[in-house]
């Protein structure tokens, strides 16, 4: 009995200790970066260019926005259509198994491999050069599995009675999908988009090799652009300015926190809606 009690208290100590380490790591990292970064975030820092004695991050914000927009533009329609096929049309079989396997494998490929591929295929072979376009196409493949999987979950959560009701009223399959299923699954699809934005904002390795590091405001999608994450990497790696690095890291953290907040809000709204059904 005593032995049990000793073992129990050791385990309890380990459990509490580990939890403190986990939460401590988060608080330490976020606290340290925000405390050191927040004082350096000024309107000037956000709104000026990065040239001469200006050290603003406006070009990086614009490049990041370009890359997010373009990647989503490519990947979201393809991902949603794939998910629709997988959930609404496909019958179990080898083809579906192949698509599933491919999606899972794509999700497991490290981002540096995407970068390597994008560099040799889009940048070199297709002669798109290091550009916003090359980076965006590369990232759109990278986020495809995330969009497909999340959208699939959302489509599966639409009750079958909705489909049956629509068919019973004489609506065709396509009408059912566009008028009934997609609107009911819209919040889940939005979650997919939000999570993808998070993934793109945090990506460094793939963009480093495909979109380049130019610090000018991009003229169009064919010019090279440095994303915020790549900017932070360059500042830290080259030891250019830790002040700017802290401030950039804080901006990134704020973006990620907002994204997580929106995703959580959507998730809880979906949960409410499904329990109400």
């Amino acid at each position: 009995m005593r032995k049990v009690r000793i073992a129990d208290s050791i385990l309890k100590f380990l459990i509490i200790g580990s939890s403190l380490i986990s939460i401590g790591a988060l608080l330490w990292i976020v606290g340290y970066i925000v405390i050191n970064g927040l004082p350096h975030i000024t309107w000037e820092f956000i709104s000026t260019e990065y040239k001469g004695d200006q050290t603003g991050i406006l070009p990086m914000i614009i490049s990041t926005a370009y890359i997010i927009g373009l990647s989503l533009l490519i990947s979201v329609p393809i991902g949603i259509c794939s998910a629709i096929y997988l959930v609404e049309y496909s019958k179990p079989g080898n083809l579906i198994r192949c698509i599933r396997f491919a999606t899972e494998s794509l999700a497991g490929i490290p981002s540096i491999i995407y970068g390597l591929f994008g560099y040799i295929f889009f940048v070199t072979a297709l002669k798109l050069r290091m550009s916003i376009l090359s980076g965006s196409i590369t990232l759109s493949i990278m986020i495809l599995p995330l969009i497909i999987r999340t959208t699939e979950e959302a489509l599966k959560a639409v009750p079958n009675s909705y489909r049956e009701g629509s068919f019973a009223l004489g609506a065709s399959k396509l009408t059912t999908i566009t008028r009934i299923i997609l609107p009911s699954a819209i919040q889940g699809i939005l979650t997919a988009v939000i999570l993808s934005v998070g993934r793109i904002v945090g990506e460094t390795a793939a963009l480093y090799l495909t979109a380049g590091m130019v610090t000018r405001i991009p003229d169009d999608i064919m010019s090279s652009g440095r994303s915020l994450s790549v900017h932070l990497y360059m500042l830290a790696k080259e030891g250019i300015s830790f002040e700017q690095a802290f401030a950039t890291a804080t901006v990134l953290l704020i973006i990620v926190a907002v994204i997580n907040f929106i995703a959580n809000m959507l998730a809880s709204r979906i949960k409410k809606a499904t329990t109400a059904r």
Binding site: A7, D8, K12, I15, I16, S18, S19, I21, S22, I23, A25, L26, I29, V30, I33, P77, C81, S82, Y85, Y89, C98, I99, A102, S105, L106, G108, I109, P110, S111, I112, I113, Y114, G115, L116, F117, I120, F121, L144, P145, S172, K173, L174, G198, V201, G202, T204, A205, Y208, L209, S229, L232, Y233, A236, K237, F242, L252, L253, V256, N260, N264
Partner: protein, 296 residues
């Protein structure tokens, strides 16, 4: 007249339905196509280099000197494996205990504050971890142990924190998925709560926990930029845990910008080796899940 018009209309509609279905199918095939093209390009560019350098010379070569056309990646393989193994080991211990805390011990309100924290940890861009490691851990390691601080140890610490959220959230889900009856039965037999957790819940949630570990391993071995910032990046075998190391991933990112010819191909070959690791990892995961399924 009216009737035939209607017929044409419904025929047209059916045709549109068919066309759209095919369009959906084509979209679904893009995933397969992308995977094939990626594997094709990486291997087509990397395999010839491996053959040119010689498989043994490449994999077991101890020196990496692009200027002299000497390409051996053994030290980087070792660094990648050691860094990943160390990080996964540490974060499995910390992560599973934290998952137990969240699923079993913590009151609801604590878990509800804790969980978004773990999600935030998962969402933080990896380069921020690298920056934090560079500015906090590297100086600390230098102060306590000497040697500059850029080291295998720094890599392990950074990767541990990065892998943690993956292990915590998937293990917690696995623990919560264990049927309530298991726990109640064990408690009814007179086992303490902690005995129940370790002798009943964890064995029952084993497959989920193992899956989280494999996914975490994938994240650790593939991480690039955060590792570059803290590793020191010398392509030599580390003498100790405080030695400078270069991983497979960082080798690619560090030199891709200016490499050409055989040097560039050797970097693709590095990618091939990394790819093989990932494939093996996925096979292990599938095998494990398959075995679990067989037993149950």
């Amino acid at each position: 007249m009216e009737k035939s018009k209607l017929k044409i209309k419904s025929w047209k509609k059916a045709k549109i339905e068919k066309v759209v279905e095919h369009m959906f199918l084509i979209c679904a095939l893009i995933a397969i196509l992308s995977l094939l093209v990626i594997i094709g390009f990486i291997f087509a560019k990397g395999l010839p280099a491996i053959l040119k350098i010689g498989i043994v010379n490449f994999i077991f070569g101890m020196e990496w000197k692009p200027s002299e056309e000497v390409f051996g990646i053994f030290p980087m393989i070792v660094a990648s494996l050691l860094g990943t193994a160390g990080a996964v080991l540490l974060s499995t211990v910390i992560g599973v205990f934290t998952a137990i805390f969240l699923a079993e011990i913590a009151p609801n309100w604590v878990a509800n504050i804790f969980r978004p924290g773990v999600e935030l940890l998962a969402g933080i861009p990896s380069v921020i971890y690298g920056f934090f490691g560079l500015i906090v851990f590297v100086p600390l390691i230098d102060k306590w142990f000497g040697g500059g601080g850029n080291s295998l140890l720094a890599v392990i610490v950074i990767l541990t924190i990065m892998v943690l959220p993956t292990i915590i959230s998937i293990s917690e889900m696995a623990l919560r998925a264990v049927p309530k009856e298991y726990k109640e039965g064990s408690l009814a037999l007179g086992a303490t709560h902690l005995q129940t957790i370790f002798k009943v819940l964890i064995p029952a949630a084993k497959s989920g926990i193992l899956a989280s570990i494999v996914l975490g391993t994938g994240r650790a071995i593939g991480e690039t930029m955060a590792v570059i910032l803290v590793a020191g990046n010398s392509p030599i075998l580390p003498e100790s845990i405080f030695g400078r190391v270069r991983t497979l991933t960082s080798n690619i990112a560090l030199e891709m910008g200016y490499a050409f010819g055989l040097h560039q191909e050797a970097l693709f070959a590095t990618g091939v080796v990394l790819f093989v690791f990932i494939i093996v990892l996925n096979l292990i995961l599938n095998l494990m899940l398959y075995r679990m399924g067989e037993k149950a």
